[in-house]
């Protein structure tokens, strides 16, 4: 999870490193800690450390972590030679290691040699059938080949064993959303909210899915989850504010035909609209007129 302070710290370090201000190792450590995908920068700065014997030896045992990080980044950038060299170094240091075996499998994947990669992974799974990362790699491989249904099947099987793995639940949810299977995606997001109730982004994603599903009940629930996102972020999430406005407008349209007068909390939408207007005024005052027009179209602003 990347919090606001960590994000600022990361972007500061990024500009510092990009402009040659040093701190490459701190940057790489932060990237590893926050698990963000900055493969091009990791490759560039990681290689500059690895090619400098003095800097490299000053890392101590962290040197090998860096080799692994750079290898994965190199695969992501399709610099397969660099990845191969890194893996070779690691293999020399740790022969028979499962972790290096996994990297080799990933290298095969990056090359596009699917059958060989599959073979490598299944031989690794024979030694340790409960290796979570390798199961995940197989799912990713199916996805990379375009067999999304196979990926879903494997991911479901995997989740039956490792139910507490929220990263996998998230992956499954994202796959379902990409296939427009919103009911299933909603189930996955429910699981995620249950396991990590304090993460506003899951509430937000769940609300998005519910809003997309449509229907009065779903819209009302979506509105509640947008509201909980606002609660958890202190109103600093623009998407949730927009979500409140859209939900209110959609609920209003549905309820108009049924002339029910149980209009719930008209303050909420006007408050959201005011908060949006304030935020736009602060950060992008030239787009304020667009916003007011849009809100007027939704009939939420007072």
């Amino acid at each position: 999870m990347v919090s606001k302070t960590e994000e600022t710290q990361l972007s500061n370090l990024e500009t510092q490193v990009d402009n040659g201000g040093g701190g490459a190792w701190e940057y790489l450590s932060l990237v590893r800690k926050l698990k963000v995908r900055r493969s091009d920068r990791v490759l560039k700065h990681g290689l500059s450390i690895l090619n400098d014997p003095k800097k490299r030896s000053s890392l101590g045992p962290d040197e090998w972590t860096l080799y692994e990080q750079v290898a994965v980044a190199a695969m992501d950038c399709q610099s397969l030679d660099v990845a191969k060299d890194c893996i070779k170094v690691l293999q020399k240091k740790f022969p028979e290691s499962k972790r290096v075996g996994r990297l080799e499998g990933m290298l095969l994947e990056a090359k596009g040699a699917w059958t060989e990669a599959e073979k490598a992974y299944s031989s690794l799974l024979e030694d340790n059938p409960l290796d979570q990362v390798i199961h995940k790699r197989r799912v990713a491989m199916a996805k990379a080949q375009g067999n999304v249904s196979v990926a879903i099947e494997w991911l479901n099987k995997y989740l039956e064993i490792f139910m507490a793995d929220h990263d996998s639940w998230r992956e499954l949810a994202e796959i379902y959303v990409s296939l427009q299977m919103y009911k299933q995606a909603a189930f996955c997001y429910e699981e995620l909210i249950l396991s990590q109730p304090m993460v506003p982004l899951y509430h937000l994603a769940y609300a998005d899915v519910l809003y997309t599903l449509g229907g009065l009940e779903n819209l009302q629930n979506a509105k509640k989850y947008y509201a909980s996102t606002i609660d958890l972020t202190g109103g600093k999430n623009t998407r949730a504010l927009f979500g409140i406005c859209l939900c209110s407008s959609a609920i209003g349209q549905i309820a108009k035909g049924r002339n029910k007068d149980d209009k719930e909390s008209p303050e909420l939408q006007s408050l959201a609209a005011t908060a949006l207007e304030r935020e736009y005024k602060q950060k992008a005052s030239d787009k304020l007129s667009l916003l007011t027009a849009a809100l007027k179209g939704l009939k939420v602003s007072s």
């Binding site: 919090s3 606001k4 690895l50 994965v72 990263d167 109103g235």
Partner: protein, 106 residues
């Protein structure tokens, strides 16, 4: 930090001194054969002072307070980590390989 620690030590010393004074006072009362109804005023003042110092030291020495509010800058989650276990490599990086001629030297 160092100041807080010094104040804490001072506070504990004051508390010990208050205890010592109370014992001495009781010894005195035993000699004069009076009832012990409560410690004298200056000991009570000493106790309160020691308490304040100790509390202050206990609050400052261990470190800064962290926010527990979910929407504070330290806790507000703005993005989820990249799901790097499910990372796949056939993206646009394959078509536009990075222009890099750096190699790993041994």
């Amino acid at each position: 930090m160092a100041l807080g620690f010094a104040v804490g030590v001072f506070g504990v010393l004051i508390l010990f001194h208050a205890a010592y004074s109370t014992i001495q006072y009781r010894g005195l009362l035993k000699i004069t054969e009076e009832e012990f109804s409560g410690p004298p005023m200056n000991v009570v003042a000493e106790l309160l002072l020691g308490l304040v110092f100790c509390i202050w030291a206990a609050l400052t020495v261990p470190g800064k307070f962290l926010s527990i509010q979910p929407y504070s800058e330290e806790n507000r989650i703005v993005s989820l980590p990249a799901n790097s276990d499910f990372m796949i490599f056939n993206h646009r990086g394959k078509v536009f390989p990075l222009e890099m001629d750096v190699k790993l030297k041994h």
